[in-house]
């Protein structure tokens, strides 16, 4: 049972306070929390669940905004954390992004939302679709209207029908002139590659995102060409379990609008699209660096937005690094970032230069880890393929669209 929720700005100011139970949580807890965060150095490094002298605190940081919840009683930690994550998702969905100003401008809406999302410390409705029917989001049209007419009612006066229906994620039957449904496969590749190029670990985490604008109560079936490669899956509540268990078919009545239908994990992949070959050789207080980046396995589509980033070891006095392609920047916190973009046809991009070590050091003991970023449109690197999407009682005009995208998640190359 959560007792209170605070929203803090990135300077620790309390932007919003929502007491949830009869037990009033004093604001001073935020001061304690902020001191704690500062003493930890980096707010992103501090634990999500901490104990203050008086309360247990859950914190989730999104876009510089800290969502802080307090409780004094034992509860399931994930409920606290998940709920805060949902709050941040819903808010950013409603307000079109999260930042200090947007929250301060719309604090009334935030209060209204929290009021419907949690009562007496227990979460109620966190489905954005349903909330949207109870509290209209501030959109540009109503903003303009409110400026012109001074009228800014953002509350619909009807109760959502779905609160009573047995499909809680779907609002009462919407009507569309154009019936559309889009399915996106979005994959993130996590990999660790050794200094000798061997793949230590390679895994894909993927999501199936659906954007549906269908009239009535549509019943969809989505099947994959190769569902056996999936190691583990998690579903949106709308997915029926039995058809998946027996035939690996996703059968569902979708919520209206955009949602995450399924997430999956595929482990033990055998190769990566890129190779990165770092070489570091130390000699007499200097370290020569040479990094090559190239295509290892051509995925068939262009790999773009390639970046490479690494933290210079603290024992380095200065660094002189250049590349034959793209731009190299050394940021204030000793992070060297190399933006490559696409791999050119005529040459292999390489980064080279020297690092000057601290005076008493002969050679480098701490080796940097290179973090690689990339994006490939049109390909799901895991090889997962959508077979077909069917709609029971299809309307006369139905548009279906499929897309795929892979990007680097935690892609690390050790040196």
């Amino acid at each position: 049972m959560l007792q209170c929720i605070f929203l803090l700005s990135d300077s620790g100011e309390v932007m919003l306070e929502k007491q949830l139970t009869g037990h009033r949580v004093d604001r001073s807890i935020c001061d304690w929390f902020w001191d704690h965060v500062i003493s930890q150095g980096d707010s992103f490094k501090s634990q999500p669940v901490i104990a203050s002298p008086t309360h247990y605190l859950f914190q989730v940081v999104r876009e510089g905004i800290t969502f802080l919840a307090c409780t004094q009683v034992e509860m399931t930690p994930l409920m606290g954390i998940e709920f805060l994550c949902r709050v941040s998702d819903v808010l950013s969905d409603y307000l079109g992004g999260l930042n200090e100003d947007v929250i301060k401008d719309n604090f009334v809406i935030v209060y209204e939302l929290l009021d419907e999302m949690i009562d007496n410390g227990f979460p109620l409705t966190t489905e954005a679709n349903i909330l949207r029917e109870m509290i209209a989001p501030p959109n540009i049209v109503s903003k303009v209207l409110s400026v012109v007419t001074g009228n800014s009612s953002n509350v619909s006066d009807t109760l959502p029908g779905a609160t009573g229906s047995c499909i809680p994620w779907r609002a009462a039957e919407p009507k569309y002139a154009n019936n559309e449904v889009y399915v996106d496969l979005v994959e993130e590749m996590d990999a660790v590659i050794n200094r000798d190029g061997a793949l230590v670990k390679c895994e894909v985490y993927g999501e199936v995102r659906v954007n549906s604008h269908l009239s009535g109560l549509p019943d969809l079936t989505l099947s994959f060409a190769n569902p056996s490669i999936l190691d583990d899956v998690r579903f949106h509540p709308c997915v029926r379990f039995r058809p998946w268990e027996s035939h690996q078919v996703l059968s569902f009545v979708p919520p209206d609008g955009e949602f995450k239908l399924m997430s999956y994990r595929i482990k033990k992949l055998k190769s990566t699209p890129l190779y990165v070959k770092p070489q570091l050789t130390s000699d007499a207080g200097k370290c020569r660096v040479n990094v090559l980046v190239g295509i290892r396995n051509d995925p068939g589509k262009t790999i773009d937005s390639i970046t490479l980033e690494f933290q210079l070891p603290p024992c380095i006095l200065s660094a002189d690094l250049n590349s034959n392609h793209g731009t190299v920047n050394i940021l204030g916190n000793k992070i060297c970032s190399w933006t490559i973009g696409r791999i050119p046809k005529d040459k292999t991009p390489s980064l080279s230069g020297t690092l000057l070590l601290e005076t008493e050091l002969e050679r480098l003991h701490v080796f940097p880890t290179f973090r690689v970023g990339f994006r490939i449109m049109g390909v799901a690197l895991s090889g997962l393929q959508i077979d077909k999407l069917d709609l029971k009682t299809a309307p006369s005009r139905l548009y279906k669209g499929f897309r795929a995208l892979t990007r680097a998640g935690e892609f690390e190359v050790r040196s």
Binding site: P53, E74, T76, L78, M79, E82, N120, V200, E412
Partner: protein, 841 residues
Amino acid sequence: MAPPAQSQRSPSPSQPSGKSEVSDLKLQLRQLAGSRAPGVDDSKRELFKKVISYMTIGIDVSSLFGEMVMCSATSDIVLKKMCYLYVGNYAKVNPDLALLTINFLQRDCRDEDPMIRGLALRSLCSLRVANLVEYLVGPLGSGLKDSNSYVRMVAVMGVLKLYHISASTCIDADFPSILKHLMLHDSDTQVVANCLSALQEIWSAEASTSEEASREREALISKPVIYYLLNRIKEFSEWAQCLVLELVTKYVPSDSSEIFDIMNLLEDRLQHANGAVVLATIRVFLQLTLSMTDVHQQVYERIKAPLLTLVSSGSPEQSYAVLSHLHLLVMRAPYVFSSDYKHFYCQYNEPSYVKRLKLEMLTAVANESNTYEIVTELCEYAANVDIPIARESIRAVGKIALQQYDVNAIVDRLLQFLEMEKDYVTAEALVLVKDLLRKYPQWSHDCIAVVGNISSKNVQEPKAKAALIWMLGEYSQDMQDAPYVLESLVENWDEEHSAEVRLHLLTAVMRCFFKRPPETQSALGAALAAGIADFHQDVHDRALFYYRILRYNVSVAERVVNPPKQAVSVFADTQSSEIKDRIFDEFNSLSVLYQKPSYMFTDKEHRVPLEFADELGNLSIGEAANNVVPTQMVEENDKDLLLTTSEKEETKGSRNNGSAYTVPYDGSSTSVFASQAQVESAVSNPTLAGHSPQASFAIDDLLGLGIPATPAVPSPPQLKLNTKAALDPSTFQQKWRQLPVALSQEISVNPQGVAALTAPQALLRHMQSHSIHCIASGGQSPNFKFLFFAQKFEESSNYLVECVINTSSAKAQVKIKADDQNTSQDFSTLFESALSKFGTS
């Protein structure tokens, strides 16, 4: 929303009190209140918005209460919502004015629009003013019967709120039985879920006084109710599912077929998108199968994939929480996860608390088939930028080495660490090599060759230095220059600040002496002389002990110092298995994240005040351990145990670093090497406080040894305390029970002292310098509890003190008991003066 109490009293100059703005608003609201002009709602809305934004930034706008209520007569729902928000916030501090709102809220409760009915009812119940409860019963009663489920849902929660304001009103109106009926018959699952959570709370609270309530509470976990809820579980919202699943964990199925039915029904919940549901389901599975060993194993296999997916898919915060649970399971059943070790590889970007968990898991899952790869991976981290993690990973390599039978490759790795020329790597590796040699003496040849090359000058950390010295003593026959290295260390005795190192040096010189007498003799003499002159109690005692035993009989001395050793075979665990089981029982709760069972940290308000009888187990044996030997140490048989104990304590300490408070861990579970060799345990334990200080002075005189006077401790002249007082816990406990309270008073602690009291240890050290010793301490901010004792100089008259310091009020409650009642006032003055100096010196 409400300003903190402080800013009400004294608004800081940087934050305007907003007084002029507030009176401005007051005026404007008043003008609008009676107006019926078109467009008045819009101007009201602007004003309300302003009021609420003031409220949000912490300006006290409670003085507008009357005007706000006057303006609330409106049909605009946004205005209503803002008004409800305002009223809910300030009603508690303005109970008289709150009466004004009742009228319009009650009217809204009968509105046509269910949304307004619901909102009004929610606000009405959120006023939380005790003298208004009579107005709640009517609207709640009709709310529970409302045709719209939204209103019913709000009303159910309203009943719970009413219960917390006035339990008797709630019970008298017979609301619980209405809720029970709703729970079993309502068509809306959210209403059912709210009924469930409200009833659980109400009946649990009532159960202590009413037998009927406890029966009703039992009925909630009866078969019909559980089945009814389980059959509808898919209709519930995800949060309500968590609630139901939690209830199911308390249910005891009658036979195994029931267990399988429940598990089959819930299996798909493991694939739910909400992590809270997944974890709650896992808890049900684990609890249900506790008695069925083989099924329990299968459950582990089944829940593995969902847990690993949750770790990799969620936000960093979620993955940490899941990882903590995974950690618990891995520690319980490492072999189940041994093929998934790659999931526990650390990523560069992960925060160190995550890496630490992962390192522990990697250590746990290592077995014959994956050790090589795990150790290779761990060695990567040794070059990590994050030094604490680099250290942890070296320690992890060592732990794996001690678990495994095939340590060949690992020893090579460790020896490579020694050659890495990084001081912290060398330090950690030395400690590990020492542990390794205790378990695998057969490796001594290879290790000693490498260790011999390390110059003791390059090793600064006490633990590492102690380990090096231990090896010098133990393997002095194999190391050419051991006596000379030891000799040079003895020469620098005064520069050695760590008592631990000095203790080890004494023992090592002794050992070396028996192996290579001629070369070591002079070093031994110097070491004993320096040791006896040492100001540290233990070092002094140990040197004296060696001296005497050498005088008594050299061959006995050799038997004591160089007993035949057997290899250490098993490491005792740092956390008792009982505690682990308790945490496991609390799966899916905060206990798992803190790695402590909830009785160690939950709600201080509900915690029973500490009683002496049961607290010794929970309190840490403080610095007094130097004087008083905890019982379990007597059973140990090796001088090196001292080192190990402190080592374990340090790892414990570092584990606690992450969380803000440290729960008192008990000294007795700080376990050490469980050695098999049981050789003359009592005799060989040098730290045994066998002789009281007085007695030892007498013997010293006999021996004609010039013992330097104990360092003079400034204390008020009227009462002199013994600086080396000794008292063991059981005597303390006994005396505490027998003696009457001589004095009981409240002392205020100065602010510096409060600030310095971040952990009990600081105060212990301070008080010890005033000859007041701590026997046990515990608690955490804001309440610390200490048990002190002191002894009158040259008399065996004891003073016992129980001192509870509250850091938030800066007050200490002191109870003093004394053998000699006449001097208790003097002692109290002394104690007070000592306490008042804490933090200032």
